[in-house]
Symmetry: C2
Subunit: 359 residues, 2 copies
């Protein structure tokens, strides 16, 4: 079965194609903005999901205060498009990056993260190049074991180093608690806040992250802002995490069934170079809306292997189906553009302007 | 530890960066061309790995006859660059693709694959648009359960349909045997060849695929050409498959250690948006040449999680390390460009011109 819209997409653009429903995008933006407002925290959306200045501006117009970027290159694209308040939630390091960060800081409000003294020492170079104070938040690890200092004592020591560094100002704390780790995060934050107070320092920003953590919004006493990313599109992981429904999934991959060599199997023209090998911890690589019991069981680079053995309805060769990806952020990361629709109407094409900005 | 070249790459381009050693690239091209020559099969390299017309031309200059593409969009980029003999090893389908295929066939020698009657019926439209005969090979499944007819009887029936279709010519058979499935492939091919002979048809092309299958080169009686892709760069999977050594791995990702929050762990500035979640069936997500016992244990989108618990040498924050990826094709698929080096000298930047050509 091919819907009328899917037939139009295939005719005008070919498959595989990434399609976003702007009604859903706008609804997602409004819903999470309202949740942040209700919880009394600033919304500082992470643009890693959409990598589009146009969508970032929709988020800001709806009430977000600034944006979050993971990569300096993403921030440069956003600044070029006129966005002037950016948190780069990442340890930046090295002369090449400090030159670019300094140039960026010269023209916009940019705050960066650090979790170690080597990074802090480098950041002073960027501040010198900028000729302006550079605010720095201390990244704290509250259980994810990614980046972030492991103890509140280290957080306080790093805050002191930042405050004592020429050109830098201590701006606060940044964390990305696990979904079940908010008590741990609270204890960490309370200790760190007590520690900096003895030095006369103040945390203007206490930033938390993650779309799955929307369900914990408002739980952390002292939090000032949240950095949700995936919520603008949502995906199979967010549905599994209980923070979105299928109707909230704004991005779908339209793909054609190109082979049905056996009765229980088929091939989609979308493989790991379109949907990625990222399972997000789920079984199968996406939900096919027309055949929810069909499983995208594995991938070659350009082949999606369908296991139809438990599916009552089976697609025909030539059918164009719609897939909700497991992890939408890594899918968008490979796309030059997404097709915008509203309901059954195609309304335009949106470039993924910060795609490929890996540094 | 940061090598002198790594320091130069980080200074001039920043990290993460993809770096190819052109001496190794040329050696890989020459070595596999010689192997094809010795086995008496034409080399028709698959450009899905490098997606670069410049590298495709090096392969052709070394003796390859034409190239293989998986996507029509890749073939268009290659044709625009002057490459005039392309096999598209994929079921193409739908009016949008037939219009483009017809236009492509009008200007170059292009052969396409088909594994079912629906695709064959569509291909006649492309031939009409081209105003030229379109050669079609029958894709045969010899154990991989991807695309391809499952039996030689189906292969013969499809060959007949192609030969009887206006505008199409039957060109032969295409397969991608599993590494252990060459006896199966031989039986399939022998039956199919006997079948078409009774119809007076001839298979000009009998095409096999896969870099891991280089060890089986020459084993299939009747094979006329091979389509290796990954061999130009190689990767951790090819080393594991026994068809390459670490010194044959021409592409490396240079990444910076940006965090060392615990003694047994660290963070690289290359995550799944650089190296992909594709494990290739291996443990860990790449080999770090400076720290071969360190494990890239998992990814966030822009974080590579290092498990250093079994590593005697441990990187410092700021070290730039070189990573051989597990599966190089999906890494290159995300890159706008690769930096070219020869030994310790940077010699230029090569655009990945067919990147993003997902359709």
């Amino acid at each position: 079965m091919t819907t009328a819209l899917a037939a139009k997409i295939a005719r005008d653009y070919g498959t595989p194609a990434a399609v976003i429903d702007m009604d859903r995008v706008e609804r997602n933006i409004a819903r999470i903005q309202a949740a942040c407002d209700a919880a009394g925290v600033t919304n500082r959306p992470h643009i890693k999901t959409h990598k589009s200045p146009e969508l970032a501006k929709l988020q800001i117009a709806a009430g977000a205060r600034g944006i979050t970027c993971q990569k300096l290159g993403e921030a440069e694209v956003m600044a070029d498009a006129g966005i002037d308040n950016i948190l780069i939630s990442y340890n930046l390091l090295g002369d090449e990056k400090m030159a670019r960060l300094g140039a960026l800081r010269r023209r916009i409000d940019v705050t960066v993260a650090a979790d170690n003294p080597v990074v802090v020492a480098d950041l002073t170079k960027a501040a010198t190049i900028a000729g302006r104070l550079l605010p720095v938040v201390v990244e704290c690890d509250t259980g994810r074991k990614r980046a972030g200092v492991e103890t509140s004592a280290e957080a306080v020591a790093l805050a002191r180093q930042i405050a004592a560094s020429p050109g830098l100002t201590f701006a606060g704390f940044m964390m990305y608690p696990t979904e079940s780790g908010w008590a741990e995060a609270q204890a960490f934050l309370d200790d760190a806040m007590a520690g900096i107070r003895t030095d006369g320092l103040e945390a203007t920003i206490v930033s938390t992250g993650g779309t799955p953590n929307l369900k914990n919004l408002g739980q952390l006493r002292g939090a000032t802002e949240h950095r949700p990313g995936t919520y603008i599109y949502n995906d199979r992981m967010q549905v599994a995490a209980g923070v979105a429904t299928w109707d909230d999934c704004a991005l779908q991959i339209y793909a054609t069934v190109v082979s049905r060599a056996g009765p229980d199997r088929g091939i989609l023209d979308a493989g790991s170079k379109t949907l990625t090998a990222d399972t997000g911890g789920l079984d199968g690589y996406g939900l096919i809306l027309e055949h929810p019991e069909a499983k995208i069981a594995r991938f070659a680079e350009e082949h999606g292997f369908l296991d139809l053995s438990r599916s009552n309805t089976r697609p025909n060769i030539g059918d164009v189906v719609r897939i909700v990806p497991n992890h939408v952020c890594v899918v968008v990361n490979m796309l030059d553009e997404v097709v915008m629709v509203r309901g059954d109407e195609i309304v335009g094409v949106l470039p993924v302007a910060a795609r490929g900005k890996l540094r």
